[in-house]
Amino acid sequence: MITFKIDGQQVKARPGWTVLETAREHGIEIPTLCFHPAVSASGACRLCMVELREGTWSKLVASCIYPVAEGLQVHTDTERVRNVRRWVLEMLLAACPASPEIAALAAKYDVVRTRFTSHDPDQTCMVCGLCARVCDEVVGLSAIAIVDRGVHKRVGAPFAKPTDICVACGSCVTVCPTGAMQAIFDSVRGEPTTALTQLAAQ
């Protein structure tokens, strides 16, 4: 067992665990959006940032991918952590104004309004990539892709063509943290007949 501290509280973790896993095991709350225990962590949303301190040295890391180590001093609610959280949430409110889930999460951390104007009032997706990861890693189909890059990054079908390898299992809709996948689902899914027929034949 590895022993270290989160917010001053002594915690124990198994080798190979992350800081987030350990925190949740001990009932310590760290917000996340792009994390789901069923798939690999990607460290994309940065809401789970925590501060590591050692003497005067300190550094922010994403707890969902940071491996535990003996003697770590983890802080989940410092000024720097709150600053990242606040700005990410404020930007998310503007990026996904139509998502009640995002609004609820932001409100939980006292972010109720945003200084930014929204570019798309109907947007709910913040491209965390959970849908693509679950389809790839759990379902094993890769029917969903993260297409384009940078500010143009979005969820879609591979090569922007509705795909008939989708078996309409709904895993992506289940893991989606903002409810966006319900709307995107139909644009990704092509004629599901081929795949379903194949499955039925097996």
């Binding site: 990607s42 994309a44 940065r46 809401l47 991918i65 600053n83 990242v84 990410v88 990539g129 500010v151």
Partner: protein, 633 residues
């Protein structure tokens, strides 16, 4: 060349030992007449763009066609970049070392006739010292070169990068032979540690320590281990690595082979951006020739050590210069950075221990091995040893590539070597480290240029781009420029970078329109801090640096935009108006003809007037006016 190998009785050129390398070198040098006239023509990308290939063609035609009456037929050599790019195309005539600048194909006949036949200089093509007005004949006497200390660049401009014998004659592969025959891998790593060399790619991590950590990782995980060259130089205004790869590709290769020997790597990768076709070609030629000579591949110099490398071309993404994105790109996946809580020396390319160093870092390795760590550590300043190559661009007289010891002052580089700002006024600021760096204001011109001093000033060494700005550059506009660049180049994976850079830029957009308040400056600072702390990779975490440093040093200018609705530098279009000074205007009608909005009226020989409602603020009238009558208010 074939006669050389026959003379040495070698199985096509394959060198079997360090002695054979030395013998070959002596033979190449002996076969040359040091008094033979030689025409050296710069074929760096800058000079080529200015037509130096046409100059070379004209020289060939002139020499072949006319049958000149010199005793010895001159040789023609095309080399890598000489660095004095603003004066290109450059031609040097040896053995006198005459330095001709801005040579056009039509000048060639005169050079051949005056210099090669009659031994006289063509004065109008010589460099004129801007302060004294004296003509300077020799390259080494020009202040731009005289004030530099060229170590990494020492061969560039002298050797033909496509001919390995030229490199060997200049001492290439001596360090490799020394390492393979007289040093253990452990000694090579120890030498690198002792040299104090820090990575030239940006972060300045000590190279020796990186190699040492890799050795420790190998102990735990075993081999394979990979060595990788980061040649994905993408900072706007940076061309140091390109010049090294184009002008002295063997130096990079030799460093890489020595590194591979130190770490026991059998495979290396050179990741070079596809936008550098000449660098890629020269590296390919160099690797091919090195294999033929037994300097790369199986059983190098018959030492029992085998190593080979390949070139991977980057497809244009700036973020692929980031180590983990570079690895995923080599692995054939989209170039997204991966979170790096396990270091690359432990888990890099293909999940294996990997040493990734920048082009310039690798090119320093042979120098350190050949001349010793003590010599190297004596250059520069403690904690930032050696020299650094900078690309000096922007509002500066001598645009080009400079190499200086670490620790010289910013003013020395910009004012002495760079010759200052064109209009003679002091520079306003220098952006170091590209889009990830920061703006150093004139008031800090005596800052020593080394890793730690630049970081203390809020900027960073970065890869070595230095963009000089003068009083006509607006800091808000500069911030917007770099943010727009990074917005385009962000991979989009993490939220602080993907959403944050756009939001920062939007706030700056408002400033450029005079909209905002002091509170917005606080928001810019705190959002920047969140991006620095929160972003997944170095692209995001360093992206706010230009904004933060300009706020730190030019807060007044930000405030002027929103409080007085003025852009002091006269750049932000929404805050400026163009006008014509009736006292100065001669009524030449030039501006009126050029104006794309046709908003300038006035009769011939009477003062003109700009209709400010129609004016697009494009600035063409100001550029075209010969009487300096157009002003910005």
């Amino acid at each position: 060349m074939p006669n050389l190998s026959t003379a040495l009785k070698m199985d096509p050129w394959r060198l079997q030992s360090g002695e054979e390398l030395n013998r070959l070198r002596a033979q190449i040098i002996a076969g040359r007449d040091p008094q033979r006239p030689e025409i050296i023509i710069c074929h760096g990308t800058g000079c080529l763009a200015n037509g130096s290939d046409k100059v070379a063609k004209a020289f060939r035609a002139a020499l072949e066609g006319k049958g000149i009456q010199a005793k010895v037929m001159p040789g023609i050599k095309t080399t890598g970049c000489h660095g004095f790019c603003s004066r290109g195309p450059l031609v040097i005539i040896r053995p006198q070392g005459l330095f001709y600048q801005r040579v056009k194909p039509k000048d060639v006949e005169e050079i051949v006739d005056h210099t090669l036949v009659h031994g006289k200089a063509v004065e109008r093509l010589l460099y004129k010292d801007p302060s004294s007005g004296d003509l300077i004949f020799n390259e080494g006497e020009i202040p731009f070169y005289k004030l530099q200390q060229r170590i990494v660049l020492h061969n560039i401009g002298k050797i033909d990068p496509t001919d390995i014998t030229d490199t060997i004659a200049a001492g290439g592969y001596q360090a490799l032979a020394k390492a393979l025959t007289t040093m253990t891998p452990e000694q090579v790593v120890a030498e690198m540690e002792k040299s104090g060399l820090r990575g030239r790619g940006g972060a300045g991590f000590p190279t020796g320590r990186k190699w040492r950590s890799a050795l420790q990782a190998i102990k735990k995980k075993g081999r394979p281990v990979y060595v990788v060259v980061n040649g994905d130089e993408g900072d706007p205004g940076a061309f140091m690595d390109r010049t090294i790869m184009e002008g002295d590709p063997h130096a990079v290769l030799e460093g890489l082979i020595i590194g591979a020997y130190a770490l026991g790597a059998a495979q290396g990768y050179l990741y070079v951006r596809a936008e550098y076709p000449l660098a890629i070609r020269h590296l390919e030629i160099a690797m091919h020739q090195a294999r033929e000579y037994g300097l790369l591949g199986e059983n190098i110099l018959n030492s029992g050590f085998s190593f080979d490398a390949r070139i991977n071309r980057g497809a244009g993404a700036f973020v692929c210069g980031e180590s983990t994105a570079l690895f995923t790109s080599i692995e054939g996946k989209p170039g997204n950075p991966r979170p790096k809580y396990v270091r690359s020396v432990e888990e890099g390319l293909w999940g294996r221990p990997t040493v990734l160093n920048n082009v310039e870092t690798w090119a320093n390795v042979p120098l350190i091995i050949e001349r010793g760590a003590d010599w190297y550590a004596g250059l520069g300043v403690p904690h930032s040893t050696g020299t650094k190559v900078f690309s000096l661009v922007g509002k500066v007289n001598n645009v080009g590539l400079v190499e200086v010891p670490m620790g010289v002052s910013m003013a020395h580089i910009v004012e002495q070597i760079g010759g200052g700002v064109p209009d003679g006024k002091p520079f306003k600021a220098v952006q170091t480290g590209g889009p990830s760096g920061g703006c150093i204001p004139y008031s800090l011109k005596d800052t020593p240029v080394d890793f730690d001093s630049l970081t203390a000033a809020g900027s960073m060494m970065g890869s070595g781009a230095m963009i000089v700005m003068d009083h006509t550059d607006c800091v808000v506009d500069v911030g917007r420029y770099f943010l727009r660049f990074l917005e385009e180049e962000s991979c989009g994976k993490c939220l602080p970078c993907r959403l944050g850079l756009t939001r920062l830029r939007e706030i700056l957009d408002n400033f450029s329109q005079g909209v905002g308040s002091e509170k917005d400056i606080e928001d810019l600072t705190s959002l920047s801090q969140a991006i620095q702390d929160g972003a997944l990779c170095a692209l995001g975490s360093s992206a706010p640096n230009p904004v933060l440093t300009t706020i730190r040093y030019f807060r007044e200018e930000y405030l002027a935009h929103v409080q007085e609705h003025k852009c002091p530098a006269g750049v932000c279009k929404d805050l400026i108006t163009y006008g014509i000074d009736p006292e100065r205007c001669t009524g030449c009608m030039n501006c009126a003809r050029q104006c794309p909005a046709q908003c300038i009226t006035g009769k011939k020989k009477t003062a003109h007037v700009i209709d400010t409602h129609k004016c697009l603020r494009c600035g063409i009238c100001k550029e075209t006016c010969k009487f300096d009558a157009v002003f910005i208010s």
